[in-house]
Amino acid sequence: MTDSTKSLLQVTGLKKYFPVRSGLFSRVSAWVKAVDDVTFHLNQGETLGLVGESGCGKTTVGRSILRLMEPTAGTVTFEGKDVLALSSKELRQTRRRMQIIFQDPYSSLNPRMTIGAIVAEPLKIHEIAKGQDLQDQVNQLFIRVGLRPEHQSRYPHEFSGGQRQRVGIARALALNPKFIVCDEAVSALDVSIQAQILNLLRDLQQEFHLSYLFITHDLNVVQYLADRIAVMYVGKFAEVAPAEDLFATPKHPYTQALLSANPVPDPTAPPKRIILPGDVPSPLNPPAGCRFHPRCPDVMDVCKTVEPKLTQIGPPEKGHQVWCHLYG
């Protein structure tokens, strides 16, 4: 399907179920299937945008890959190593190569550490640098993300959201990673700051040859940054496609509806919104067959019973994949 030598990260059949406990003896009465059988890959230097509504399992995918949560099933191969099989010591080494940037710049920095100490800590812990060398490296990181090195002795609460997010980026870059999960990294910032941070992330990507898994619900952001986009709906992928293809020719009815909800910056453009009936189903009790079928405008009988399989649109090397019976 894809050239496996080139891909940095390969996720296969990833599942994360959360138990719902109830009753006197805390018996597991049900499972929330937050992520249910997700497969994708990420190439070196590439950005994969992961979009979907709140609660569809985007963040769970990101955190499971980094093993900040233990996935229920599946494999994650990073640089040829099975991340889920690593011992805790090997995991610490691997974590130098994969990092995360958080959504909320207010809770992602320890309020009782100076921002200099926050950025220096990973370098110290992994014994990458010490003394003057450490100081130089921290200065470099500060300059690289657009912060003044002389602000190092200040505390996070003295900075604005955008500046804090830069500190978070500097901390993630400290260990010189290859792969960064950006978990809604710009969602909490206002639009002008968003643009600055997005440009910074793009520049850093070129400079350090980074790969991003960019989790967001903002279609404009992924359009700007992503090479490929994956659309998620209630724990499953609906469609994966190169960014231009996805915006030009969305195949899955859910993707079509999602894109139609994105405002077009042209007041004269005719409104083409596809309004979906009903609500997003609970991952506690997802519909049988295709999870989208109760809301799908193009629903067929087969959708109600059979889960759709992956279908390639066009030549496989193009990588436009869709999980929908319309194309099967």
């Binding site: 990092q99 958080f102 009782r112 602000h151 505390y155 609460h157 003295e158």
Partner: protein, 330 residues
């Protein structure tokens, strides 16, 4: 007219910001001081406590090591003298108080109340601090274990269930009567009192620390530390504990006050620190029979306890406000 004035003050304000619009640097400690020193009630409490601490230390020295004020001298000639009175002419010259005056009067045995209060301040304060030290130690340990390793299963129950149900069980007993029972069964001594008060007052702290740990464990900076491969011990002690402890110390301040109050209550009932130690509680207790004949025996220790407990509570309240950024804007 007004315009130019606000314009000028705006300019000075802008000038004090640096190139990136940041205010002049302020460490958390400086910020804490700025907020705390503006709170006059807390400041009052703070100075009362400083005074008390000095009094307790000098009291220890001047009544026990280098006896200037003798709390144990019995003067049968000078019974029930009101405050600020001089010794009677037929009293024994060696037993006369320092300065030739009874600052706070004498009691039914002619003992100098001022000297006894002086000695008692050290006892009361040390009971407060040691008891709270013990309860903090137990509370932080159990609460921390429960909050961080709570999900770990031991045989058929989790660590969290085990510790918290034990805490709940301890809370079910009316603390004061539990202490009373324990004190009645154990040999009476000042150390027994300290340890027992400490052993029976850690439950609030434990619950508090557990709650703090549970909420901090889910913060992104802890997740970030995990993602950076920082060892667990360092995550706990460098990232979690400093953020969990501020509110704990606030409650500890108030805990000192309640320990002093508990000791006074025990002494008042006759189960407290045994003689010859004078504590505020047993001075009060001894004085209760003479409320109408010698009211100072009753009111002086009562007022002292009231003042100290009030001061601790005011300081605790001030600390809470200065350490909690959410309350600060008010």
């Amino acid at each position: 007219m007004n315009h130019s004035k606000t314009g000028a003050s705006l300019k000075t304000k802008v000038a004090s910001l640096d190139a990136e619009g940041l205010a002049p640097q302020e460490t958390p400690w400086e910020e804490f001081l700025r907020v705390f020193t503006k709170d006059y009630q807390a400041l009052f409490g703070f100075w009362v406590l400083v005074l008390l601490l000095l009094m307790a230390l000098t009291g220890k020295v001047l009544t026990e090591w280098w006896v200037v004020f003798d709390p144990e001298a019995v003067r049968l000639t000078d019974k029930f003298l009101p405050p600020l009175s001089v010794p009677s002419p037929d009293s024994i010259p060696e037993d006369r108080p320092f300065g030739g005056i009874y600052l706070m009067g004498t009691d039914e045995l002619g003992r100098d109340v001022f000297a006894r209060m002086f000695q008692g301040s050290f006892v009361s304060l040390s009971i407060g601090f040691v008891a709270v030290g013990i309860s903090l130690g137990i509370g932080i340990l159990l609460g921390g274990l429960s909050g961080f390793y709570g999900h770990v299963k031991l045989w058929f129950i989790t660590v969290d269930t085990l510790i918290m149900r034990f805490t709940d069980a301890m809370m079910c007993f009316p603390t004061f009567f539990l202490i009373l029972t324990a004190v009645a069964l154990l040999p009476p001594s000042i150390y027994t009192i300290m340890i027992i008060i400490g052993l029976f007052s850690w439950m609030g702290t434990a619950r508090f620390v557990r709650a703090e740990f549970l909420s901090i464990r889910e913060q992104d900076y802890v997740t970030a530390a995990k993602a950076l491969g920082i060892p667990e011990g360092r995550i706990i002690f460098r990232h979690m504990v400093p953020n969990a402890l501020a509110p704990v110390f606030v409650s500890a301040t108030i805990g000192v006050a309640s320990a002093i109050l508990t000791e006074s209550g025990l002494s008042f009932l006759g189960f407290g620190v045994p003689p010859p130690y004078a504590t505020w509680g047993n001075i009060l207790s001894d004085g209760k029979g003479f409320v109408f004949d010698a009211p100072w025996l009753f009111f002086i220790p009562g007022l002292a306890i009231f003042l100290v407990v009030l001061a601790f509570n005011l300081v605790g309240e001030g600390l809470r406000e200065a350490l909690n950024p959410k309350l600060r804007s008010r």
